[in-house]
Amino acid sequence: MRANLIDKYKDDVTSFSQSKGEPDWYKKVRLDSLEKADELSLPKYEKINYRSWRLDRPGSIDNSSANEFDRKPQANNYIYQAGDQTISMNLEDELSKKGVILTDIFSAMKDYPELMQKYFMTKVTKTTDNKLTALNAAFLNSGAFLYVPRGVHLTKSIQAMFVQDNSIDRDFVHHVLIVAEADTEVTYLENLVSEGSGHKNKANIVVEVIAADNSRVHFSALDQLSKDTTTYLNRRGITGNNARLDWAIGFMNDGDVIGDFGTDLLGEGSHTEAKVVAITTGEQVQGIDTKVTNYGKHTIGHILQHGVILQKSTLTFNGVGHIVKGARGSDAQQESRVLMLSRKARGDANPILLIDENDVTAGHAASVGRVNEDQMYYLMSRGIDEKTAQRLVIRGFLSSVISEIPEKDVRASLTQMIERKLVYGQK
């Protein structure tokens, strides 16, 4: 039998925690989580089988610093990390004066212990949710904290660049915590990207978003983890009364990835729009499970997922809309559509509606189809070659999510990423 995680890793985790100068409370979270991880099981997702990926077997936890890369975001307010190192960051004075916090996760543990103990894996995602969330807490080796105090409206976006390094042999165990207190507004953009080559690594990434009463949070993500990175990516949020939490996620990874996304609509009258675009190429497998649960009365939860599958790859979209008993006057809608560009590709779009309350509206649409021939013919009749025409039609198909992203240059980078991935997938 394999040794228990706790026996095998207790010393490594303890010394890593010490090397980071972590406060005792977090060292305890690590060790408790490590112990619990042994009993917890892997999260289960409809029609997504990833057991063989061995995401529950950690690699060595190591303190070596990653290399620097040329990836600094073009934004006034940003944080830029490579592995566990924060390469640079900036927060305008005006914002720090108002009490906005943007920092790496280790500094946050030391400098803001009350906030961290209050919010870190206590409200949204728990260390006890499943084996992988427990391992995230136990092996955490990078991450960031963004805090927007009550009443503060950020007019410019906050950008994050997180580089995962495959030039060394190391798991990327990353955690982002975003807290938007009551009556706030914030737009956050996250880039996850791999650099370097030569090693195969695992990534375990948890992002928590707390959108308190009357807050408006817009979360965009551009994910580009490499072929050599096998990933569990969990991004979830909760809402207070009349809060709005929107997600726009560009899932452009080249490796095998499980995406666990969604919102728990806790507060009355709160609203979430979760939009995902994904492209899979080569032989990669991407499974995306987006779940919105309506707990509060008069809550609105909409899921929109569009994906394109090329070559021998596999893409599965689950859309789960759950309205619990008592969430009267709520609305759960979802649409998942997949385009298959190759006969060897595999794709699935599974709508799952769980409705435990009568006085609600709900609906779903799902399809797996091929590229629209009329559109192809029209473009080609103007001289555009088949591959270019195909990319244009696909871009159109994905545009409902692209157009959701607030910044023009971010939309442009997503469009570029889509172009890159499609060109690669058309080879």
Binding site: M380, S381, R382, I384, L392, R395, G396, I402
Partner: protein
């Protein structure tokens, strides 16, 4: 000078329901050169759009006999995009809508597809050209920035087809009912656009039901199509005669055994 020759063209479509081929064009002959404007008229369902799609290379239309030659070379084996790059253009009766791709981006891609990879059209040149063509058609930047045909009104789609024609500058343009659904002002604008292309290096095949369009774009030749064949050709006066007498009169004059859709 370029020529487009249609020789004894037979075209079938496959019925979606029973999978059987049905012959629509039954031997069409037509020759045109750049510098000329030809018009095709004919009752509903006689194969005018089928002819235009077969020339362009729509794979739903199978050529079972005959040939299509551009400058003496058969183009039957060429896919639609290659035919387009050789100089053919089809303004479609029902243009597709493509969300997420702007008109501007699309037209640039179309122009660049005709140029070398390392000789793509400079942005300023493109914009200048676009503005001058928009002016001819009374169009604004706003429309060019919109997604390709998405949410365009019927008339806007037609105008947009002509804008593409002016931007791409093909050798031969087939215009399939470019006048249907246009108000009288738009009809004049669209005609102005087509006329601006007239010259030694441009030829056009105009499919229409209405003689009125031919007052604005005066054709060199008019052809009448019935039941998959061209049954009569003549000058612009033929269109006027048809307008007065209808297709039944012409059919009876020619002693054709053809049933017209609207006959009881």
């Amino acid at each position: 000078m370029s020529t487009l020759e249609i020789k004894d063209l037979h075209v079938s479509v496959t019925d979606d329901e029973n999978g059987e081929g049905q012959e629509i064009l039954k031997g069409v002959n037509l020759t045109m050169s750049t510098g000329e404007i030809h018009a095709i008229m004919g009752p509903n369902g006689t194969g005018k759009s089928t002819l235009s799609q077969a020339i362009m290379g729509n794979s739903a239309y199978k050529v079972t006999q005959g040939d299509i030659l551009l400058d003496g070379k058969s183009i039957l084996e060429l896919p639609v995009d290659e035919r387009a790059r050789l100089g053919l253009f089809l303004a479609m009766q029902y243009p597709a809508e493509i969300p997420g791709v702007t008109n501007v981006e699309f037209m640039r891609a179309a122009i660049n597809s005709r140029r070398d990879k390392d000789d793509q059209i400079p942005v300023m040149d493109f914009i200048k050209k676009l503005e001058s063509k928009q002016d001819i058609l009374d169009m604004t930047d706003e429309m060019s920035e919109r997604y390709l045909n998405e949410g365009f009104s019927g008339g806007e789609k037609k105008r947009n087809e002509i804008l593409q024609l002016l931007m791409i500058e093909p050798k031969f343009a087939i215009l399939d009912e470019i006048d249907s659904g246009l108000d009288i002002d738009a009809l004049k604008v669209v005609s102005r656009g087509v006329n601006s292309m007239r010259g030694d290096n441009f030829g056009s095949l105009i499919i229409t039901h209405y003689q009125r369009l031919l007052n604005y774009i005066v054709p060199d030749q008019v052809h009448v199509m019935m039941d998959g064949r061209i049954v009569k050709s003549g000058g612009p006066e033929l269109a006027k005669k048809l307008e007065d007498e209808g297709y039944a009169g012409l059919r009876d004059d020619l002693h054709l055994d053809v049933k017209l859709t609207d006959e009881i």
